[in-house]
């Protein structure tokens, strides 16, 4: 079984990774992308997974572990494994605002789309990925609402453990959520 945390960038995937790590699942990360003001607690990323489309076999290294895979790469998951995917859902306006702020911090150049059109493009993309996941029998998906998670981390930790089918330390998982920090970051992003 491979445990995947996914979603749009800036939808709370790092938070979900912190939770599953605290719960006791070994996480596949190389620590190459260190924490920064955009993600003060780190990204929990594994650089090699960015090559998933070109090298689908690399996902085998995540067997028995949790790995963060960004939404657009999910469609490159190869057959031959069973997957449980925690898919983060967050209001698209917030996601876009947070992405814009991060792009500004990074000094890179985002999509050549008017800001108003970006939520629609991300919505179409997210719907496409979720629809595709629904066509794959070997992939089970749990959608996690970001704000609901902030509001009640304990209950969500239990639900996550149940979905993943693992005896996780749900108390430790819930403690990873710092509502003050996340509310503040949401406000900053907006």
């Amino acid at each position: 079984m491979i445990y995947i945390v996914s979603g749009l960038p800036r939808s709370g995937t790092s938070l979900a990774m912190q939770m599953v790590a605290a719960g006791g699942i070994p996480v596949l990360t190389d620590g190459l992308r260190s924490s920064d003001p955009n993600n003060p607690r780190g990204y929990y990323e594994w650089e090699r997974i960015k090559q998933l489309a070109q090298d689908p076999g690399c996902v085998a290294e995540a067997e028995g572990k949790a790995v963060k895979i960004i939404s657009s790469l999910l469609m490159s998951l190869p057959g031959g494994h069973a997957y449980r995917v925690l898919f983060m859902m967050r209001a698209l306006e917030e996601v876009v605002a947070s992405q814009t702020a991060m792009i500004s911090n990074l000094g890179t150049r985002g999509a050549a789309l008017p800001a108003a059109a970006m939520p629609a493009a991300l919505r179409a993309h997210r719907n496409q990925v979720i629809a595709w996941l629904g066509t794959r029998k070997e992939i089970a998906v749990m959608q996690l609402d970001y704000h609901a998670l902030l509001a009640d981390p304990a209950a969500h930790a239990v639900e996550i453990a149940r979905f993943l089918g693992l005896p996780l330390d749900t108390e430790a998982m819930a403690k990873q959520v710092d509502p003050a920090l996340h509310r503040q970051r949401t406000a900053q992003a907006l």
């Binding site: 960038p9 800036r10 992308r33 960015k50 090559q51 998933l52 489309a53 070109q54 960004i70 657009s72 790469l73 469609m75 490159s76 057959g79 992405q99 991060m102 792009i103 990074l106 890179t108 150049r109 985002g110 999509a111 050549a112 789309l113 059109a117 970006m118 629609a120 493009a121 991300l122 179409a124 993309h125 719907n127 496409q128 979720i130 629809a131 595709w132 066509t135």
Partner: protein
């Protein structure tokens, strides 16, 4: 879920129990007819003698993904959404072959699925991932060998629907390495003389053969083992064999070495014979109750019109395509041994729907090929199939995404650092895919006379690149909008600052030299052709056709270039503008300059002929029209031009003969019928003349002189005076309206 049709009108009577639609990419009567006459394509010969046949006019741009999806939907590419060979791939950051999730509207197999018919589709362009139709769907990525024979050769995910049939179809494929000597020798008897280290001809031959046999195996398996009402099956073999070997087709082209010519000269003819054999099996398995339609998306130059080089631009090999493909239909309610005229590839989908007794969408751009039916069929119509409720076997709406939006999302994720930045080649390929898609859509708008919609796209393209082809089309767009000054400004600039020659790919000699030197042995090409994603990348980077990458073709020089070939296009359009402005002297100067640059363009000589005709230089006009016929003997416009010359000389019998030839080649030619009418009237055949004039005004109601002739003919003793009065009034009204329009134009 609601599944019933919304339309309430009486269902038309089905005229076919089953329909088998066979696509032969690039098939051309110019090659098939002599082979049929020699008894070398007996199945096709028998097929057309028991059915109807005709030319199938293509659309511009002449690019197969756009065209085959127009065939399947009855709509132009701006509506159906397939805009090129490739599209951005949000997963790899590169490009991929254009996919079924990009098609925005329902294809025939979706409509028929919705109506409950057992429907199968195989190999269709932009067919991947396979759609969940009510039957079996085999995608266009199905036949490609991605690994050597001694390694596992899995089907790509999504190549077959339903998934449960995956193994069955995987086993039906043929690998190029399985093409044995016994299969090669009938095609290429002197294959043993080929040095395969230097000459990749055999490898490319085996690849094309294996891919087409894989599709054929899958199609015949379905016909033998599955119930069916409709099957659409697409073969790319003729197109790919022609791109690969047409320059070896007799007569030997200048620059083709004799030894190579002798080795490969029969490949194209044998490709047609091979398809004839496959046709035999398909028709036989389909059974007598099936209606069979055979069509191609365009033709392929096979004679003196073969280009010697390929423009260095994406999809450059399309220059080898001819504007007429083929159509042949055979079935219980169709005519036998008849020729049909004026068909376009947009007409296939409405015709198939009518065969099933289903309504035609009013949003379809084609029409039913009524003339093919033994009796006029009842044609039902609905506003659109897109609004009809019910499961139609398309991918879920959420799975489909506009490629431009997908590209924006990808760019955003890269900027955020969540996706690996594509390498320079990938970025370039993506940019090219997006640019070419916009260019193609702009050309679709121009082809369908919607210059207003093309204008912003072309302006954007010209802003981003100084490629001559974009500026040329922008000039054409301005011209079509009546903005002659803007068009002239662009053309003057193009004429004053012509693009750097040579734009064309290496000449045949140069190509041969490269092959013989072994410098293009195809390692890179093998790699790209075996990997759909990288093959897709090559499409846009270079030749624009899926497997013309065989080292034996008049393949485009793959060095990137932003320059166009030295075409006479700018002079040609400038000449047209001067002609329309009444400046025949300047028009001639431009057109003759264009002729000097490229004397082989048939339309150019037509324009020259028309200009001479207006200047009353009848000998020169005749010479120009004859020159056009030397280039394309099937040009209806050239025969029409000759008819007009003869009429002015009062050589009425000759005029009638030429006019008859013109309308025989293209029935929908109102001026041809008009010229025929004038000749017949002068020759003393008033009834036949009236018939010709009536035909001309039925096609072009504003033809004032035809109404005048009809008024005169009906005023003769025994004529219909009421009709005469009606035509006289129509002519007067038309003239009055024309004067008002001119006056309004002057005032504006």
């Amino acid at each position: 879920m609601e599944t019933g049709p919304r339309y309430n009108s009486r269902m038309a009577q089905p005229l076919a129990k089953k329909v088998l639609l066979i696509g032969w990419d690039a098939a051309d009567w110019k090659i098939a007819t002599p082979l049929m006459d020699q008894g070398l394509m007996p199945t096709l010969d028998d097929f057309v003698s028991h059915g109807v046949m005709g030319n199938l006019a293509t659309l511009r741009p002449v690019l197969s993904p756009l065209l085959w999806n127009s065939i399947a939907t009855g709509m132009r590419a701006d509506k159906h959404g397939i805009h090129g060979f490739t599209e951005p791939d949000t997963q790899t950051g590169g490009i991929r072959p254009v996919s079924s999730t990009s098609r925005k509207v329902r294809a025939l197999w979706n409509i028929l699925t919705q109506r409950g018919y057992k429907t199968h589709v195989l190999g269709w362009f932009a067919g991947h991932p396979a759609e969940p139709v009510n039957g079996i769907s085999v995608s266009d990525l199905y036949p490609y060998a991605t690994q050597p024979l001694d390694k596992p050769w899995p089907l790509p995910p999504g190549a077959v629907h339903p998934e449960s049939m995956r193994d069955t179809f995987a086993n039906l494929r043929m690998h190029p390495a399985e093409v044995t000597e016994a299969a090669i020798l009938p095609w290429i008897p002197r294959a043993a003389e080929i040095d395969q280290e230097k000459d990749r001809g055999l490898a490319s031959f085996a690849k094309i053969l294996a891919e087409n046999l894989s599709i054929h195996n899958a199609a015949t398996w379905i016909l033998q083992n599955q119930p069916w009402d409709f099957m659409g099956v697409y073969y790319n073999g003729i197109d790919h064999f022609c791109h690969g070997f047409m320059h070896f087709h007799p007569p030997r082209m200048e620059g083709v070495p004799e030894d190579k010519f002798e080795i490969y000269k029969d490949v194209v003819n044998n490709a047609y014979r091979f398809h004839d054999m496959m046709l035999h099996t398909l028709v036989d398995l389909a059974g007598p109750e099936a209606t069979v339609i055979l069509c191609s998306d365009h033709g392929f130059h096979s004679d003196h019109l073969r280009p010697r080089g390929i423009p260095r631009e994406p999809a450059g090999p399309a220059v080898q395509h001819r504007q007429f493909g083929i159509i042949a239909m055979r079935g219980q309610h169709l005519k036998e041994d008849e020729r049909i005229y004026g068909a376009t590839l947009l007409d296939i989908a409405p015709t198939v729907l009518t065969l099933f007794g289903l309504p035609v969408g009013e949003d379809m751009d084609g029409r039913v090929l009524v003339q093919a039916f033994a009796e006029s069929p009842a044609i039902e119509r609905i506003p659109s199939w897109e609004q009809e409720p019910g499961e139609c076997g398309m991918h879920p709406a959420d799975l489909r995404m506009d490629p431009a939006a997908a590209q924006a999302v990808l760019q955003q994720f890269i900027a955020l650092g969540y996706i690996q930045k594509p390498n320079e080649n990938q970025e370039k390929a993506v940019a090219t895919a997006v640019r070419e898609a916009n260019y193609n859509v702009a050309r679709v708008y121009l082809d369908s006379r919607r210059p207003k919609e093309a204008l912003p796209l072309l302006e954007e393209l010209v802003k981003g690149s100084d490629e001559a082809r974009f500026r040329q089309h922008l000039a054409q767009c301005h011209y079509m909008l009546g903005q002659r000054a803007e068009a002239k400004a662009i053309l003057e600039d193009l004429i004053a600052n012509p693009p750097k020659p040579p734009e064309q790919a290496e000449t045949t000699d140069e190509r041969q030299e490269t092959r013989d030197d072994g410098q293009e042995t195809g390692d890179e090409r093998r790699e790209t052709s075996e990997n759909p994603a990288s093959a897709a990348q090559e499409l846009n980077a270079g030749n624009g056709q899926r497997t013309t990458d065989n080292g034996q073709t008049p393949i485009v020089n793959r060095q990137s270039s932003t320059e166009d070939p030295p075409r006479p296009w700018a002079d040609w359009l400038m000449g047209v503008i001067h002609f329309e402005e009444g400046n025949t002297e300047e028009a001639l100067a431009c057109l003759l300059r264009a002729e000097q640059a490229d004397p082989r363009l048939p339309n150019l000589h037509l324009r020259i002929g028309e200009t001479y005709l207006r200047r009353q230089q009848l000998d020169d006009a005749e010479r120009a029209f004859r020159r056009a016929l030397e280039i394309d003997g099937d040009s209806p416009e050239a025969h029409l031009g000759l008819a007009q010359v003869k009429l002015r000389r009062r050589q009425n019998e000759d005029a009638a003969e030429e006019a008859l030839l013109a309308v025989g080649l293209q029935h929908f030619l109102p001026l041809g019928h008009y010229a025929l009418g004038v000749a017949l009237a002068r020759l003393g055949h008033p009834h036949r003349a009236a018939l010709a004039f009536e035909t001309s005004v039925s096609m072009l109601p504003g033809l004032v002189n035809a109404h005048r002739w009809l008024a005169a003919l009906e005023s003769r003793p025994g004529g219909d005076l009421e009709k005469a009065a009606s035509h006289r009034k129509l002519a007067a009204d038309l003239l009055k309206r024309r004067r008002e329009q001119m006056s309004a134009a002057v005032n504006n």
